[in-house]
């Protein structure tokens, strides 16, 4: 028994060490990013590199705001990313449920077709897609950015994979109790999938938060720029506004932080276990 506790302690210790190393490796570049946001451009290239934050953050921020109307871009990014995430969650969970728990004709071919579209390089889809949006008269609209990938192949795939874990017996017994098919979806499938939905929400939000190439060709008015578009204007062949880019990045991370912390609490155990016991 003592052997066991020592083992346990060792295991705990090892786990913590591993976690700390991974976190450190991942966080150091970010920390450095934040440091560079607090120093003036002229010190950006000083050697050895600065590791202690400076006091220039707000000066850089003011320059950024003057240069790009960054606050507006944050608002635009939020509107687009949030509406996109909600819409896409709904579509993906519905379709994923069908692919995981129903039998229907062409199920496999349809699914593999969705998967194949995930592989198509977005770089090449941009030209025909832009053309389509011009025809719709939707250039310079948020809708044109939100809709095309609202049908997100990745989201369907993730939902399908996770929903396969819902025991068929659970659905069957609910059916016996008189639940309708639609209730199976929103009363059983959705609640049991909350951790996965939270993960998917994070993924979708991130996808849209960072999207660059496609929004770039669609959103041409500077008032409609998202954060990545506003940042792209700070990069020139002969001059790059590193200080402002880093300030912008430090700000752009905040919403992700918030999204994470908000969705964290849904990463809880036993949701499915609870319903199996019924």
């Amino acid at each position: 028994m003592r052997e066991d506790t020592r083992n346990k302690a060792l295991w705990k210790f090892g786990s913590y060490i591993f976690l700390l190393i991974v976190t450190a490796l991942v966080t150091i570049p970010i920390y450095w990013m934040v440091v560079t946001a607090t120093i003036p451009q002229s010190e950006f290239f000083s050697w050895p590199p600065r590791v202690i934050p400076g006091t220039y953050y707000f000066e850089n921020l003011a320059a950024l705001q003057e240069n790009t109307n960054f606050i507006r871009s944050i608002g635009n990014s939020l509107i687009i990313a949030i509406s996109y995430t909600i819409l896409s969650l709904l579509l993906c969970s519905m379709a994923g449920f069908a692919f995981a728990k129903y039998e229907f004709r062409f199920k496999e071919p349809l699914f593999y077709f969705i998967l194949a579209t995930l592989i198509l390089p977005i770089q090449l889809l941009i030209i025909p897609l832009f053309l389509l949006m011009v025809q719709f008269g939707w250039t310079n609209s948020f809708l044109a950015v939100i809709l095309p990938w609202a049908a997100n192949p990745l989201g369907i795939f993730l939902m399908r994979q996770n929903m396969r874990a819902i025991p068929d017996s659970l659905l069957e017994s609910a059916r016996m109790d008189g639940a309708t098919e639609f209730q199976l979806y929103y009363k059983i499938a959705l609640p049991t999938m909350i951790p996965s939905l939270a993960a998917l929400a994070i993924i979708l939000f991130l996808f849209q938060w960072q999207a660059f190439l496609y929004p770039l060709v669609i959103l041409q008015e500077p008032e409609m720029y998202t954060i990545p578009l506003a940042l792209a204007d700070l990069v020139g062949a002969q001059r790059v506004y590193y200080d402002q880019i880093m300030v912008a990045t430090s700000l752009a991370i905040i919403p992700i932080f918030v999204v994470f912390l908000t969705l964290q609490k849904y990463f809880i155990k036993g949701i499915l276990a609870g319903s199996v016991k019924q």
């Binding site: 832009f130 609209s141 041409q220 020139g236």
Partner: protein, 434 residues
Amino acid sequence: MTMTRRTTHSVRRRRLLQALGIAGVSGLAGCVSTGGDDDTDLTGWGWNIAAQSLQDAAVQYNEENGTDISVDELGDDAWEQRFQTAITSGEGAPEFSPVQNYEVASFADLGGLTDLTDRIDEAEIRDDIIDGKWDTVNIDGNDYALPWDLGPTGVFYNRERYSEAGIDPDNIETWDDFIEAGASLPDDIAMLDLPTEEIPQLWRTLFRQLGGQSFTEDGDVNIASGESVRAAELIKDLDDAGITTRVEMWSGGWFTSFAEGDILSMISAAWMDGTLRAELPDTEGNWGVYKLPAFEEGGSRASNRGGSNLVIPSQIQDEEVVEEVWEFCLWSMTTPEVQNTMLEEYGLFPSLATAYDSSIYEEEQEFYDGQAVWELFAEVAEEIEPYRYTPDTPEVMNALETELNDMLDDEQSPEEAMENAAETVADRTDRDLA
């Protein structure tokens, strides 16, 4: 009254949104109206410096002519991606835009640019702009762009360190002199930076200095020519002499190396002036410029690096709009005062030779310890050999990068490198070897 494409789109967009019942969601649909009174507004796109200098010009032009011309400023990659998409999809291009030298041929070849030959003839400006520039905008006998700035080359050097090492730039007349001067430096100080991405650029600078052409007039691949091999040999000599270092260009370390005097010279062009002033203000007074060393005594000391031109996309089909844009482009590109303002404010060196008469070229500049560098660049500009670009120029640069690197790793001789590069280009572009 003209109706621009943008207003047409916004009307159609509104109609479609209404049809879908979502016009009320204005936050989602974005700015549905583009202003209303914009019947004559003309919009150009440009990357940072090009856009800013055109914006200044447009302000003056609008005041004088009551027009409504504006220029959207984009980052480099943003301009590239957006302009390419607009041209290749045939929709959504601006009324005018600057285009880099090496890209004019590609866009023109696609049929994306308006043929300006007749307008240029009519304006009688051919003699006002230096000869070396016209081949850049000419594809198969037609001109598809209005020449703007160019990049007359020079060697920027660190005055203090040169004199400490006893190097007199006036005595560097040939590349041999340059290598010799570099060899006299201590080991930890480099005469020149030669990172991977610079190598094909340097090749082109040297190749143009020798008057080489990548493609013959018939379109055959000509990069295994004598000039090409000589340029490659010199790159190898520079590398073998141990006078170079490899610091990534435009990186922080790169700027620091120049500021600290770890790298003493830089082969670049007139536009580098603006970058140096912006990034290294503390180095004022310590810079100087001399012309590229010649391959042999008395040989050409001029080449070109970079430069751009103004184009009108062929999607702009309304004759009145084209005419109005053309008038603005012509005025801004061929009015000496406008061009010289762009030089002073943004470091864009005009290809408009009539601008060189201005007294600003003789000005002694503090940044260069009293040297009149614009005069030097103007002299270089007038000696630049014409150079033909083709849509396959990127293939040439790509092949050269690989082969020249193998050459520097001693895997092949300069002749072999250029022959292999020529074969690669010929194979990839279905062209013949010259």
